[in-house]
Subunit: 333 residues, 2 copies
DNA sequence: TTGTACGCGTTATCAC
DNA sequence: GTGATAACGCGTACAA
């Protein structure tokens, strides 16, 4: 059943049927009804494949995730999907597993017109390549920072977020604060490090390399590094982990070696995922507005799809300190 | 740049170019090279829109999720995506938010040829409607059970899974075991209830309605219901929650009211999500092979896409008891 | 081994 | 308001 069949049955032309389907106002009410009747009677559904070819668009966008198992990305996608849905776009997810070749191949879907635009996250591709793609195709970076012209992006101010977290820990009376950073050499990791160091400098406290853990990916790493930190001659009195899962690893470790979290040693996370409320003690953290970032990312992409000439945009979202049980004023402060 | 341009530049026909693009062996090596050279030189990429119309397929499948925020679905999608990727299919995600109208509209994408097949999860649609769609289009149910002809499905044996969990708890010496079931009136919830009751009957223990909580959705509910359970004149000595998040709520509550989990009261979850290892004590649970279920679901769908006439299939996956710290032999057993 | 010619289903243009 | 017709880019049956 195709548009020509409907036209014949309604004794009109394909053009008119198409107009009805697209709510073109210049169709006589009587004709419209006749066509709609036939459509209803036959159960005709328009074939999107033909439509897409004619309009030279796919109606889908691509979201390239490093992994979907991290709830952070799930939440961002939730925002993207919600917003895309409103504009009638479908969201195709592609998992890069942080492999350059995968991401490259996935971005090719822009060139083959399989998707009308793409949202990428912490990218493993060089900025040059990204920039070249963005010159020709709608491309947006979400939850990350880029120097690239043409690539719009949205993220929080990571330097300030960590700085604010540190200020809070310092205000509790901590003098020995460790931080645990991620593994992948991304701009935001550098920015977080800077925030950590700035806060210490302003407080006239030393920056101790043994307190600055890097190459930490997940829960298990958080657990292991915490053990090492606590074995130092002068262990820290607070640990600021730059992800909640890592912080959960810290807490797990401290619980096991009998150190009271939230009195003897404070722990702070980053992201504010569901987990924070589930562990004991509950986890103080920095909130990232992930759903909103996803929504903003889609909106920026949509704008680019509608008019590729729009200039690049940066939307910096607000972070927020969420205080829970894992941090408390020091007794001897 | 389209296929005709390449044909002209390579001094051949569009048919031959198309053959080269599709690795048709009956092209002279010399011609093939000439075409490939031009393709490389011009950076030509084939337009998928034209191709899709011609082949009357979209190259995408749809995954209709109740929500993407539950890590369970994220893990299933991981399996689906992985497998789809191998076959060159894209995965479009659509979130139904458990709304009938949403799900219905999303399934329409099959009729409009926007997707070549669909995987649905715990569906809120009546079986009749699902069955009708499945007669015409490739449709698969993942992590759920259905009576529908035409709808292939994959899931674990939920009755036996709960039964096995109960047998384990009984073997530890428990005589008063509560269970906390979900909210949505799905077949699998009924099956789990049956498993719970069968185990009690076989052990000649009474089935106490006050120990059978229902309408429990998430962490917070688990927390609240546990409080109520422990306020009973005869509180249970073990709680079997039919989701890990709910179980985490139980543990949280017990921790707070000073009841030792894993000695005074045992707690058991369901699903084996990451969380189980992160909380204290770690959570005994029933593992569902979620990634594998996603992979199987895609494979079944793929088979249907290739040949819609294939008969309906059911793949029952193995569950597994994972023992951790939240359960232990009772002292006085 | 290659080329010609047509059709996939829709929308846009133009003429009426 | 409406209808005829030409694209959109590709794949393939058929002929050579």
């Amino acid at each position: 059943m195709k548009i020509t069949d409907i036209a014949k049955l309604a004794k009109t032309s394909t053009a008119t049927v198409s107009r009805v389907l697209n709510n073109d106002p210049r169709v006589k009410e009587e004709t419209r009804q006749r066509v709609l009747d036939i459509i209803k009677k036959t159960g005709y559904k328009r074939n999107t494949l033909g439509r897409n070819l004619r309009k030279m668009r796919s109606g889908n966008i691509l979201a390239i995730l490093p992994t979907i198992l991290n709830p952070i990305y799930a939440r961002i996608i939730d925002g993207v999907e919600r917003q895309a849905n409103k504009s009638g776009y479908g969201v195709i997810i592609a998992v890069s597993h942080r492999k350059k070749e995968n991401e490259r191949k996935q971005l090719e879907m822009l060139q083959t017109k399989e998707v009308d635009g793409a949202i990428t996250f912490v990218s493993s591709l060089d900025e040059q390549f990204l920039g070249e793609m963005a010159r020709e195709y709608p491309l947006v970076l979400c939850a990350g920072f880029t120097h690239c012209e043409n690539v719009s992006y949205t993220c929080i101010d990571n330097e300030k977020a960590v700085y604010d977290g540190m200020k809070y820990l310092l205000s509790l009376g901590h003098k020995r604060i460790a931080c645990i950073n991620h593994k992948f050499s991304k701009v935001y990791e550098y920015q977080r490090k800077m925030g950590y160091e700035r806060a210490l400098k302003e407080a006239r406290l030393p920056i101790r390399p043994e307190y600055m853990i890097t190459n930490c990916t997940d829960f298990k790493d958080g657990y292991n590094y915490t053990k090492k930190l606590m074995e130092l001659p002068e262990p820290p009195t607070a640990i600021f982990a730059f992800s909640d899962k890592i912080a959960a690893g810290c807490i797990k470790c401290l619980n096991e070696i009998g150190v009271k979290v939230g009195s003897e040693v404070d722990v702070m996370g980053f992201d504010n995922i569901e987990l924070c409320e589930m562990i004991t003690p509950t986890l103080t953290t920095i909130n990232q507005p992930l759903e909103e970032m996803g929504m903003v990312a889609f909106d920026m992409l949509y704008e680019k799809i509608k008019n590729i000439k729009t200039t690049r945009k940066a939307v910096i979202m607000d972070h927020k300190l969420i205080i829970r049980q894992s941090t408390r004023p020091m007794k001897n402060a």
